[in-house]
């Protein structure tokens, strides 16, 4: 029994394993797959071109995309096509990251947010305005009015991802 008490006493002086969530948060790994974000280019244009390859790759059928055509007066993304509707049903999502792999423009990224709780099924569907990141410094929000002939390519030149 003494030995048992000693173990307890020893634990009293050790650094606690538990943390005070939600005040305290443990950092996640770099490659952690949390909630999706739709990225923007530095100038504020959306990276997503509405190709729906993420929806095709999704094994849980959680993504729904509808596309529309860009014009120079109302430009959301480079090229001709952008996503007019983009929805992810987080209840369905299994966070496998296939959508990230399928994306030809690196628009969808599974980031580090894991605090996903909902009070009903409808609020589990994340629409485009929830998923898309803020306009970066120096960029302007979409839709933008752009010069004709400036953004003709949908798929940018990219290097292989390093991380």
């Amino acid at each position: 029994m003494l030995r048992g008490m000693f173990t307890t006493l020893k634990a009293l002086f050790e650094k606690p394993v538990t943390i005070q969530y939600p005040e305290q948060k443990r950092p996640v790994r770099v490659r952690y797959r949390g909630r999706h974000e739709l990225k923007r280019y530095d100038n504020g244009l959306e990276k997503c071109i509405g190709c729906a390859l993420c929806a095709a790759a999704c094994p849980a059928d959680a993504i729904f995309v509808e596309a529309a055509e860009n014009t120079d007066d109302e430009r959301y993304s480079p090229g001709e096509r952008y996503a007019s509707t983009y929805e992810i049903n987080m209840l369905r999502c299994i966070f496998c990251g296939f959508c990230e792999d399928a994306c030809p423009t690196e628009a969808i990224v599974l980031e580090h947010d894991y605090e996903l709780a909902y009070t009903d099924r409808a609020s589990a569907i994340f629409t485009k305005d929830k998923l898309i990141v803020k306009v970066p410094m120096g960029g302007s929000p979409t839709p933008q009015k752009t010069e004709p002939g400036l953004y003709t390519r949908s798929v940018p030149e990219m290097k292989d991802p390093v991380d």
């Binding site: 729906a52 509808e66 096509r81 423009t105 030149e157």
Partner: protein, 825 residues
């Protein structure tokens, strides 16, 4: 017996008809030789070079002409030093083809690499992605990476409009010329072509408005890349996201087989909507083509003007009520009218709808009449097309007579097939009162004066002119009968006259012989097959009835006489999609469903019964026509009709003698068609769909004694007085109907009125002048065009364009705009 040729492809013995090319021959045994420019419906050109194969032919001793043999006795095969194109090389006896050797595979890989040097990386945003032959063949035969630099790709205009319907992406074009060849060889509209050469080669349109062809949508199907896309589908959905719902087009009596591609859409609040219409292969009806009217008119079903509530007249106003109340009111009115019930149905309804209305009128012992501006279908049931008929099987020695119809405007796919037949050597006799597009392809062009159709028909079947000899002496004779400038009385007589002629020359009752009526609605022939005929005393019948029951027709807008009669009717019950002129006069209005929202069957002008299926959920609070009629029938104490179209058709087939031998199952039967098309063959023919829904069945002819017309006489048309002109109804493809108005075609709607230049000069009316037409007490204001294609003294009036020219009428024309002020047209 056709000559057959034996050859070896990839070590397999193949026996095919002489004249076939190697690509098609390989296809018959399931060997794939990839192609881009070759299309089984087009003449080969050998432009893309993808089909290169190694071809060897038996060596022949030049001196003796005998085959050179190897030591073991087999014929010695001489291979060419270079690869040859399989699509331009016809098969020959003893030929040996190697289609998968290292040399061939290397050549394919190189060709694909060259094609891709200038092809943009658009697959993620391209509408063709997922059903693209270039994508598929690159995956199958191409190289994984390119040795060319991305920066050096040549860039061209990405969004180049070829008119309201088609957009061209010049970067994606691989210069196969399928679209150019289709328009030239098949559609007969050489309005697009190549411009420049080499890398700078691009597709350009030469017409005004751009890409002025009524078959333009087909080029987007056969385009092997995403260069040509339709404007209404552009970025609408990815190919794999859509469900394919087979159906039949209801825009004209041809009955083209189509597929609705549907998808749920957030923009439409999660409703399933039609994203595009694609052709479905039926070699005996529409092959793999559909016209632009069939392809682009589907948005009307989504129109906010659709009726979504039953309406009942209370205190002289139509107010929305529940279905129960509306049906109760309607049935009470029908009950009260009893024997005097008068039902008016049109060919817009399916067989099931027509049968239900017929049963209802039988129940109350009332009358039923077909509302149509053409007549004579009763003769078509006796001398029409028979099982086994196929216009594409007509060969030299046979004759096609087109009488009083501008097929190009009235039934585009029939025009296409008649044109092809004429090019195959079939004698084409085109009898018309004005110039039409068919004149170019006809062996004999006969012009008669409007009103003298009887004389023209008699001469064709009785006289000894060359044209008449071609008609009466034909091995097979097919007659297309139209209603150009004719009303119901005239066309009924015309059908009788032609039927008499067909009987006299015994061109009926055998395959590929008989009369094809060019009806104005899709299922008009179906009504005749059910024994529903137009009532000659329709106006009297309507004015005498206590309850007029109108389904799928709008007589108030089209026929002033009937409108007057309707005002005298006791009460009017109308079933329609929209609040039409007729519905506005009604006491009870019942909202129905559009063709894409329900099931049913139709009979085409060629007497082919075909089924169609629902593609999208029905608009809220609507019922199919037969469902409404069934409820009314039950309320009137009649039998309970089956609740779905299939069972109702089965009942109908049991009761109606013309359908006895045609079961619903038979309508669903398919067989292998040539050329092979469809989803597994995308690299071959484009994105048309294979047919697994049913090819339809041609109804057997009605036989029996004393059923043939005798000594038919055509009623005279009105004689215009000195200051009047003869107004004649004609059909244009893009009319003012709701279906066209709600589609992309709205900018191409035909002009309503047209005058001969001499008449225009006499009236001092310039092209585009605003004129007022006076007939009876009514006046109508319209723009007029001037055209020398029509005879002097006539005013051609487009049907479905708001003018009640139901039959030839005498009208007075007053010009509103002075000649000095030029019209805006």
């Amino acid at each position: 017996m056709e000559k057959r040729v034996n050859l070896t492809i990839d070590g397999r013995a193949v026996s095919v008809p002489a004249g076939m090319n190697i690509v098609d021959a390989a296809k018959t045994v399931g060997i794939t030789i990839p192609v881009f420019c070759h299309h089984p419906k087009l003449k080969p050109v050998g432009m893309c070079r993808l089909c290169l194969v190694d071809i060897g032919r038996p060596q022949v001793d030049r001196a003796t002409g005998a085959a050179v043999l190897n030591e073991d006795g087999t014929p010695k095969i001489a291979f060419g030093p270079k690869l040859e194109t399989a699509c331009t090389t016809p098969v020959s006896e003893g030929m040996v083809v190697w289609g998968a050797t290292e040399k061939v595979m290397a050549a394919r890989k190189d060709i694909l690499e060259f094609l891709l040097t200038s092809h943009p990386l658009d697959c993620p945003v391209c509408d063709k992605g997922g059903e693209c032959p270039l994508q598929n063949q690159t995956m199958e035969f191409g190289s994984a990476d390119s040795r060319f630099l991305l920066d050096e790709k040549s860039h061209a205009k990405k969004h180049f409009s070829l008119g309201e319907l088609i957009t061209l992406d010049r970067e994606r074009c691989i210069q196969c010329a399928r679209c150019v060849r289709f328009e030239d060889q098949i559609a007969g509209d050489p309005v697009i072509g190549f411009y420049n050469r080499g890398r700078k080669l691009e597709i350009a349109t030469y017409s005004e408005p751009g890409f002025d062809s009524i078959f333009s949508g087909n080029t987007t199907d056969i385009c092997p890349v995403g260069a040509l896309t339709t404007n209404d589908f552009r970025f609408g959905a990815r190919a794999w996201e859509m469900k394919h719902k087979p159906s039949v087009c209801n825009q004209c009596p041809v009955g083209c087989n189509i597929t609705y591609d549907v998808r749920r859409e957030a923009k439409s609040n999660g409703k399933t909507v039609i994203k595009r219409i694609m052709p479905r292969q039926n070699e005996e009806v529409n092959e793999i083509w559909i016209c632009d009217k069939g392809r682009f008119t589907y948005a009307y079903a989504e129109s906010p003007e659709r009726l979504t509530q039953p309406l009942v007249r209370k205190n002289d106003e139509l107010v929305p009520v529940s279905w129960d109340e509306a049906l109760q009111t309607a049935s009470e009115k029908l009950q009260a009218a009893g024997k005097s019930v008068y039902a008016l149905v049109s060919g817009r309804l399916s067989l099931e709808d027509l049968y239900a209305v017929k049963t209802l009128t039988n129940q109350v012992k009332g009358k039923i009449s077909l509302y149509a501006n053409m007549g004579g279908g009763e003769w078509v049931t006796r001398v029409g097309m028979t099982p086994g008929s196929d216009l594409s099987k007509l060969e030299k020695g046979s004759t096609i007579l087109v009488f009083g119809s501008d097929l190009h405007e009235e039934a585009p796919i029939w025009w296409l097939r008649v044109k092809q037949a004429a090019e195959r050597g079939v004698t084409l006799v085109n009898a018309s009162a004005r110039k039409t597009r068919l004149d170019l392809f006809a062996s004999f062009n006969l012009t008669y004066a409007y009103g003298e159709e009887e004389k023209a028909v008699r001469e064709l079947f009785e006289a000894s002119s060359d044209a008449a000899k071609a008609v009466s002496g034909a091995a097979n004779l097919v007659v297309f009968m139209g209603s150009d400038g004719m009303g119901q009385a005239q066309t009924t007589a015309l059908a009788g006259l032609i039927a008499e002629g067909l009987v006299k020359t015994s061109h009926f009752g055998k395959p590929n012989n008989g009369l094809i009526p060019v009806w104005q609605t899709a299922n008009e022939q179906g009504a005749y097959e059910l024994g529903i005929l137009p009532d000659e005393t329709m106006a009297d019948g309507i004015s005498a009835t206590m309850a007029l029951y109108v389904a799928g027709a709008d007589p108030a807008a089209e026929n002033p006489t009937l409108r007057e009669a309707m005002q005298k009717a006791g009460c009017i019950i109308v079933q329609d999609l929209f609040l039409t002129e007729t519905a506005k006069m009604a006491d009870v209005v019942l909202p129905t469903q559009a063709i894409m929202e329900r099931d049913g069957t139709m009979v085409s002008g060629e007497r082919r019964a075909q089924k169609f299926g629902a593609a999208v959920p029905a608009a809220r609070n609507t019922k199919a026509d037969f469902e409404i009629t069934s409820v009314l029938l039950e309320k009137l104490g009649g039998e309970k009709l089956p609740a779905n179209a299939e069972e109702l058709y089965t009942l109908l087939a049991k009761k109606e003698s013309n359908f006895k031998t045609v079961s619903f199952k038979a309508l669903s039967e398919t067989h292998e068609q040539s050329p092979l098309m469809g989803r597994n063959e995308v690299y071959y023919g484009g994105t048309g769909y294979a047919n697994d829904f049913g090819l339809g069945v041609t109804l057997p002819l009605v036989t029996g004694e004393n059923g043939m017309p005798r000594k038919t006489l055509m009623p005279d048309v009105v004689k215009p007085t000195r200051n009047q002109r003869l107004a004649l109804p004609v059909t244009h493809l893009y009319d003012q109907s709701k279906a066209v108005h709600a589609s992309l075609l709205k900018d191409r709607i035909a002009n309503t009125l047209s005058l001969h230049p001499e008449d225009a000069e006499a009236l001092k009316a310039e092209n585009g002048a605003l004129v007022t037409l006076k007939f009876g007490n009514a006046e109508y204001e319209q723009k007029v065009t001037v055209s020398s294609d029509q005879p002097k003294g006539t005013l051609l009036v487009t049907r479905n364009c708001g003018l009640p020219v139901w039959q030839p009428e005498a009208v007075e024309i007053v010009v509103n705009t002075p000649t000095t002020e030029r019209g805006a047209l």
